[in-house]
C-alpha cells in the first residue's frame, strides 16, 4: 500500500510540463486545425457550389468535354461535358453524408455494445466480443459488398454497410476505454452511493471514456470515404448519374491518357478530405492524451 502524501516528488513534477510534451501539444493542436481547415474546405465546396448552379453536376454537354482546368471550368470537365467542380461538390456531399452517417451508426451501436461489454458480467462481455470478432474477421470491402448485395445499392445501404464494418472497431475502443474508467475511484464512489447501473454508465463511465472514441471516429470517417469510393469504383456504391468521387475515378479511367485531370481531380478531392480527417484524428489523439494526465492532477 502506498501512503500517498501530497508531498511526493511525482506530484511536484507532474504539474510541470516537459519541453517535449509542450511541443507535442502545440503540434497536435496545429494538426487538428490543419485537418479541420481541409475538411471545412470540402464542406464549403459541398454546400456552396451546388447553390450556384444546382444542375451543373448532371448537365451533360454543358461544357466542352475533357477540358482541362481553366476559366470556363475551374476544375475541368469530364467526358460528357459536365463540370468537374460541380460534380466534386455533389460527390463530397454524398461521400461526407455516407461517411458521417456510417460512423454515427457505428458510434451509437458500437458504443453501446462496448459500454455493455465493459460494465456487464464476463459472460455477456465474452459473448458480445466473440460475435464482434467474427464480424471483424471479414475484410471490410467484402463485408460491405455482401450487405450491398443483400440490400441493393444506394446511399442508405452504403451507410449501413460501412457502419456494420465499423461497429466492432468502435465497440472495442469503447470497451477498452470504459474498462479503464470503470476502475476509477469516482465510479466506485457513485456505486457506493447507490447509483443505479444506468446512471453509472451514462453519467460517469461514458463521458469519461469519450476521448479514444472521438479519435477513432475521426479516423474512421476518413476510412469510410475511401471505402465508399472503392465501392463506387467497382460499381457497387452510388449509381450514375449521381456523382461520387469513386465513380468519377472509375469512369475517368478510360480517358486518363488524354486528359489526366479527369482522374486527377477526384483523386485529389479524396486525398484532401481523407487527409483532413486523419490529421484531426491523429492530432486529437496526441492532444487529448497528455491533457488527460494534466487534468487528473
Amino acid at each position: 500500500m502506498t501512503l500517498e502524501t501530497g508531498a511526493s516528488a511525482v506530484d511536484e513534477a507532474a504539474g510541470v510540463p516537459s519541453r517535449a510534451s509542450l511541443r507535442s501539444t502545440f503540434a497536435s493542436r496545429a494538426e487538428v486545425v490543419a485537418g479541420g481547415a481541409l475538411v471545412l474546405c470540402a464542406v464549403l465546396i459541398a454546400v456552396i457550389v451546388p447553390l450556384i448552379d444546382p444542375a451543373a453536376a448532371t448537365a451533360v454537354g454543358a461544357s466542352v468535354p475533357l477540358a482541362p482546368p481553366g476559366s470556363d471550368n475551374l476544375l475541368g470537365s469530364d467526358q460528357l461535358g459536365r463540370d468537374q467542380l460541380a460534380r466534386i461538390a455533389v460527390g463530397y456531399g454524398i461521400s461526407l453524408t455516407i461517411a458521417v452517417g456510417a460512423v454515427l451508426l457505428a458510434v451509437v451501436i458500437g458504443g453501446l455494445l462496448g459500454l455493455l461489454a465493459a460494465t456487464a458480467n464476463s459472460v455477456i462481455d465474452g459473448v458480445i466480443m466473440r460475435v464482434l470478432d467474427v464480424v471483424m474477421a471479414f475484410p471490410a470491402l467484402l463485408l460491405s459488398i455482401v450487405v450491398v448485395a443483400l440490400f441493393g445499392a444506394g446511399t442508405e445501404v452504403l451507410m449501413l454497410a460501412i457502419g456494420i464494418v465499423f461497429i466492432p472497431i468502435i465497440a472495442r475502443v469503447t470497451r477498452a476505454a470504459a474498462l479503464e474508467t470503470f476502475q476509477q475511484p469516482y465510479v466506485e464512489a457513485a456505486i457506493a452511493r447507490g447509483a443505479r447501473r444506468g446512471r453509472v454508465i451514462f453519467r460517469h463511465v461514458a463521458p469519461n471514456s469519450l476521448g479514444p472514441v472521438v479519435v477513432q471516429a475521426s479516423i474512421l470517417i476518413a476510412v469510410a470515404i475511401m471505402l465508399e469510393a472503392s465501392l463506387s469504383f467497382v460499381g457497387l456504391g452510388v449509381q450514375p448519374p449521381t456523382p461520387s468521387l469513386g465513380l468519377m475515378l472509375s469512369t475517368g479511367r478510360d480517358f486518363m491518357v488524354s486528359d489526366p485531370w479527369i482522374v486527377g481531380v477526384p483523386a485529389i478531392a479524396i486525398l484532401v478530405v481523407v487527409l483532413g480527417f486523419t490529421l484531426i484524428g491523429d492530432g486529437l489523439q496526441t492532444w487529448l492524451d497528455p491533457k488527460k494526465r494534466a487534468v487528473a492532477r
Binding site: T2, G6, S8, E12, P17, S18
Partner: protein, 267 residues
C-alpha cells in the same frame, strides 16, 4: 571545518513554466551533518534534490551555484558528475521500485554497482553485497540475493536501496522522502537504520521530507522551504522550540500528534 556542500542562490525554472520552481535557495552542509529540508508539496524541496544530483529534466534553466567539496556540480557535464555519483554522492528515493530494476535480481544489481565503483572481482562483490544486505537488516541475505524487487515488501526494497546507497560509503547522501511510502513501524526501523549507518560511516545527509517528526529525530539542522524559497534555516532545537517565522510556527502547529498539543507547545 570547510563545508562539504555549499549552495548559493540557486534558482531552477522548468521549461515551459512562467516562474521558477525554486529561487534564491542557499544552504550549507558540513561533513557529518544531517540537514533536513522540510516543506509541503510545491515547496520546491524535491527540485532542490534533483538539482543537486544533476537530474533536472532537459530545458530546465538553472542559476546560482552548488559546490560539492569545492567542485561546482550545477550544470556540470556528465563526465564530471558520473565519477561522483554513487561513490561520493548517492541518493535514496521515495519509491524503491523506481530505483530497482524489476528484471534483474537485487543481488546482481548490487554486484554490478560494487564492481563498477569499487573495482571488486565478482566473488568479492558478491560477498560484500551479502554483507551489506545483512547490515540493513534483511534476514537470510545470501538467499535474498537472487530475489527480485517485486518479491520483496516495500520495506525490504527500501532497505536494499539504502544498502546500495551506503555500501560505497559516500560522503554525501541525498535522501528524498526515503520513508514516506512505508508503514509507520517499518519507517521507524528504517530511520533507525539510516541513523546508525550514517553515524558509523561519517557520511553527511540531506534529508528531504514533509514529515516534521522525521526531521526532528534525524537532523541536526533544518531548512524550511515554502513556494520555492527558503523561509528559515536553523538548528533543529531552535526551529522546533523558537521558530522565527510565522510559516514555521504554522507548520509546527498543524502537526497532528498522538501526544497532546500541550506537550508540543512548551516553548
Amino acid at each position: 571545518m570547510t563545508d562539504l556542500l555549499v549552495v548559493n542562490d540557486l534558482s531552477v525554472q522548468y521549461a515551459g513554466t512562467s516562474r521558477p520552481s525554486i529561487s534564491g535557495v542557499s544552504m550549507t552542509l558540513a561533513a557529518g551533518e544531517v540537514v533536513g529540508v522540510v516543506g509541503e508539496s510545491g515547496s520546491g524541496k524535491t527540485t532542490l534534490g534533483s538539482a543537486l544530483l544533476g537530474l533536472l529534466p532537459q530545458g530546465a534553466r538553472v542559476e546560482g551555484s552548488a559546490t560539492f567539496e569545492g567542485l561546482e556540480i550545477l550544470g556540470a557535464p556528465e563526465r564530471v558528475l558520473r565519477p561522483l555519483r554513487g561513490i561520493k554522492l548517492s541518493t535514496i528515493v521515495q519509491n524503491p521500485a523506481t530505483a530497482l530494476n524489476p528484471s534483474f535480481s537485487i543481488g546482481s544489481q548490487m554486484i554490478a554497482l560494487l564492481r563498477r565503483h569499487l573495482g571488486l572481482s565478482k566473488v568479492e562483490a558478491r560477498e560484500y553485497a551479502i554483507h551489506w544486505l545483512g547490515r540493513v537488516g534483511i534476514g537470510d541475505p545470501e538467499r535474498r540475493m537472487s530475489s527480485h524487487s517485486h518479491q520483496l515488501s516495500g520495506g525490504m526494497n527500501q532497505r536494499v536501496v539504502i544498502a546500495m546507497a551506503l555500501a560505497l560509503s559516500p560522503r554525501l547522501v541525498i535522501a528524498d522522502e526515503p520513508t514516506s511510502a512505508l508503514d509507520v513501524t517499518v519507517q521507524a526501523a528504517i530511520l533507525q537504520l539510516i541513523n546508525d549507518l550514517i553515524a558509523e560511516s561519517g557520511s553527511s545527509m540531506v534529508l528531504i521530507t514533509h514529515d516534521l517528526g522525521v526531521v526532528a529525530q534525524m537532523c541536526s539542522r533544518v531548512v524550511v522551504m515554502r513556494d520555492g524559497a527558503v523561509v528559515e534555516t536553523g538548528d533543529v532545537d531552535q526551529i522546533f522550540h523558537a521558530p522565527r517565522t510565522d510559516y514555521t510556527r504554522h507548520l509546527l502547529a498543524s502537526q497532528p500528534s498522538p501526544r497532546t498539543l500541550e506537550e508540543l507547545t512548551d516553548d
